[in-house]
């Protein structure tokens, strides 16, 4: 046990006490924060209001366009596009939302130009001159037959790549024309809203005891989150595990090690040490991510964006963590096994794709589980090592499987880890004794059986 701990300690500090670790650990959250705040910052850099001249005979469209592009209207549109829960907002939230809408939708200063006997060409020349004088940013020509099927609206802008303004004007124009058409057909705007009203589709789920609870579609999200976390940590740390194994073979230290401790102790210690260092980093990231998310949620709340979180119990968090650990260790042992079979890390890189494939299989197994968590498939998938670290938490989230199944699933993963470490340790020892050439799979199998 003391030897095992010595190995754990060395492997842990070897990774943690390096500049690279410090830099990646503390700069990555800063980087992530910067990336997530970047769009917000960029969009909040707002130019002046876009000055648009609308060339139109009678001003009908101008009126409607002006209305549609007003901040009040934009807020209303935003509300319509989001869930119903935004309905009840207090005044200050409403005000904030308006500001947000202005930020993201752009603001406009419209001006009506009536041809007044001038030809289109004359007007265009005038407007072009004004644009050249920087007195105007864009102009829109509304055709006389604006509600005809093939009516052509022309928008000339100094800056045609300002997609935000372009989209806002196009949408405003569309709405304006539609309203005009509706008015002609004698249908009021209110009537239209009524017709377009979506049905209220409320999902409740019934659990085993027969009681009804609010339904959720977070099962796949949870599984995806777990698979993603596993994927990230494994891609980051799998190669570290592999490198640690390969280093000792390359530098020939392995021979001293094997003359001092049991291969299983050495391999397990290495795995635990590297995994703990990985967990240290992931923990730091998780906490900073949580901090950012909380901050984001508070911000979103103050902006009036609804917060809807699934109901998560502390027990579920424990399960989530346990299965994450099981998955992390299990996949890392695959890397240890690969490392024990190859002579250089580069060589090992070729095998890495297999772990990703297995992980993906676990992720996709979640779809049938979410659809029927009690099927035989779901039972098998949530008990099979390699797949279960992803599928079992999803199943736990959707319905509560019997405790023995959860424990069995964890136990099988632990057994798989031990079995793989044992195999890796043997392959490692024999691989060291005949270094210099890459082993074939049948050879490795022979080592594991006979050494």
């Amino acid at each position: 046990m003391r030897k095992f701990l010595a190995v754990v300690k060395r492997e842990y500090f070897k990774v943690v006490w390096t500049k690279v670790f410090l830099i990646t650990t503390f700069l990555a959250p800063v980087g992530m924060l910067a990336v997530s705040l970047m769009p917000l910052l960029m969009f909040s850099i707002k130019g002046n209001a876009v000055r648009v001249a609308v060339v139109e005979e009678n001003g009908k469209i101008f009126q409607r366009l002006q209305e549609n592009l007003s901040p009040e209207k934009q807020v209303e549109k935003f509300k319509r596009s989001t869930a119903e829960s935004v309905k009840n907002l207090n005044a200050s939230q409403d005000e904030k939302l308006k500001q947000t809408a202005e930020q993201f939708g752009g603001s406009f200063q419209l001006e009506q130009i009536s041809p007044a006997g001038k030809t289109t060409e004359q007007i265009q020349n005038e407007l072009l001159q004004r644009i050249a004088d920087k007195d105007l940013d864009a102009y829109l020509i509304v055709p006389a037959d604006f509600d005809a099927k093939d009516a052509k609206f022309e928008f000339y802008s100094r800056n045609a790549s300002d997609f935000i303004s372009k989209t806002a004007i196009e949408e405003g124009l569309n709405d304006a024309i539609r309203l005009e058409r509706l008015a002609k057909a004698n249908i009021s705007e209110e009537k239209l809203k009524e017709i377009n009203q979506k049905v209220n589709f409320s999902v409740k789920s019934i659990d085993k005891s027969g009681s009804v609870k609010e339904g959720n579609d977070w099962g796949f999200g949870i599984a995806f989150g777990l698979a993603f976390m596993l994927y990230i940590t494994i891609t980051l740390y799998g190669s570290v595990v592999m490198g640690a194994v390969v280093e000792e073979k390359e530098t020939k230290i392995a021979e001293i090690l094997f003359s001092s401790a049991k291969p299983f102790e050495l391999m397990m210690g290495k795995l635990v040490g590297v995994c703990l260092s990985g967990l240290t980093q992931v923990a730091i990231w998780t906490f900073s991510a949580l901090a950012i998310l909380t901050y984001g949620a508070v911000m979103a709340g103050s902006l009036g964006i609804p917060k809807e979180f699934p109901s998560i119990t502390p027990l579920f968090i424990v399960y989530f963590f346990l299965f994450f650990l099981a998955g992390f260790f299990l996949y890392s042992t695959i890397y240890a096994l690969i490392g024990s079979m190859v002579t250089t890390t580069q060589e090992g890189g070729q095998f890495v794709i297999f772990t990703v494939i297995v992980l993906m299989a676990g992720l996709y197994s979640v779809v049938p589980i979410v659809r029927d968590p009690n099927s035989t498939f779901s039972l098998i998938a949530s008990l099979t090592p390699f797949v279960s670290p992803v599928s079992m938490p999803a199943r736990i989230f959707i319905e509560s499987p019997p405790l023995w199944q959860i424990l069995l699933s964890l136990g099988l993963n632990v057994l798989a880890i031990c079995g793989l470490v044992w195999a890796a340790a043997r392959a490692y020892r024999v691989g060291m004794l005949m270094y210099g050439k890459k082993a074939t799979i049948p050879e490795v199998w022979k080592w594991i059986r006979t050494s």
Binding site: K252, A261, R429, L433, M434
Partner: protein, 305 residues
């Protein structure tokens, strides 16, 4: 010498890798407090045998006993091993590495630190304590590895080619240290293909070639068993006697003397007498032992032929 306890007993040990027999039915004993030379050409099976002794691999047949117990990983802490293929963690500080190796041999860190200081001082490497292995020269890292092999004060020390790559000054230091360890009652197995060093150091030897034991025993006795038929001769005259095939099998001319191989069953005294009778003026007539090197080459050639 039966009063000395036996540290290591290797009995009819065989190890195969697939169709290749790396070690074929080898037996020997290593007595406590002695230096045992494990000799043989490259590829003879020395390293494979040592790996079985330190329990890195297990023999397919036969048994290995250390201090009267069957060898197992629990007994590993009683052995110090300097492998032929040496390595250190490149980016780890010397002190850290030695601490780690000591911990793997179950030495508490406080005790380990004391011994590390002692040994670095003894090897003249104190100022390298906080340097990384990358900064060390080959000879230095070899001395560090030697320290790693003795830090846990093992009773049996196995050194596989310990002098290869060392300059004469360091060879001398290491020889002194080995002598000190022997004085403290440690048993040392020392594998080499350099016969001169073996001759200088070893009490007992075993010579293996092509996976098999060729000969073994006390160095003195081994040499004596080969040493009765060689004569160094410096003389003038008496050439006729040297041509007598019933007396002399072979004459090798050196710069100012001759080396004679006696014919089987020939007697040195009769040869000397005949030389004098034939008027030879003798300035040197010495019965010499063959060097270990000669024995080695002769035995290996013979077996390979």
């Amino acid at each position: 010498m039966s009063e000395q306890p036996i540290t290591l007993r290797v009995e009819n040990v065989t190890k195969r890798y697939g169709d290749f027999t790396a070690v074929d039915n080898i037996s020997f004993e290593v007595k406590a407090g002695r230096i045992f030379g494990f000799l043989g050409p490259n590829g003879a099976g020395k390293t494979t045998t040592i790996r079985m002794i330190v329990s890195i691999t297990a023999p397919d047949e036969g048994k290995i006993e250390l201090f009267g117990q069957k060898m197992s990983s629990e007994l590993q802490d009683k052995i110090g091993y300097l492998p032929e293929e040496r390595g250190l963690y490149k980016k780890m500080k010397i002190q850290e590495q030695l601490r780690y190796f000591a911990a793997l041999k179950d030495v508490p860190q406080k005790e380990a630190d004391k011994r590390i200081d002692f040994w670095l001082d003894r090897m003249g490497l104190s100022e390298w304590k906080l340097k990384k292995a990358n900064d060390l020269s080959k000879g230095m890292s070899q001395k560090i590895q030697f320290i790693a092999a003795v830090l846990h004060e093992p009773d049996l020390i196995i050194l596989d080619e310990p002098f290869s790559g060392l300059d004469p000054v360091n060879v001398e230091t290491l020889l002194e240290v080995i002598a000190e360890l022997k004085k403290k009652g440690k048993t040392i197995i020392f594998s080499t293909h350099l016969m001169e060093t073996a001759e200088r150091l070893c009490d007992d030897i075993i010579l293996i070639n092509k996976s098999r034991k060729v000969l073994g025993g006390k160095l003195r006795e081994v040499k004596e068993s080969f040493g009765k038929n060689l004569i160094a001769l410096r003389c003038s005259g008496g050439e006729k006697v040297l041509e007598d095939k019933s007396l002399v099998e072979k004459v090798t001319e050196h710069a100012d003397e001759k080396e004679l191989v006696l014919a089987p069953n020939a007697d040195t005294q009769i040869l000397l007498k005949k030389l004098i009778e034939n008027g030879a003026v003798i300035s040197k007539f010495e019965q010499i032992e063959p060097s270990l090197n000669d024995i080695f080459i002769e035995q290996v050639k013979e077996k390979n032929a």
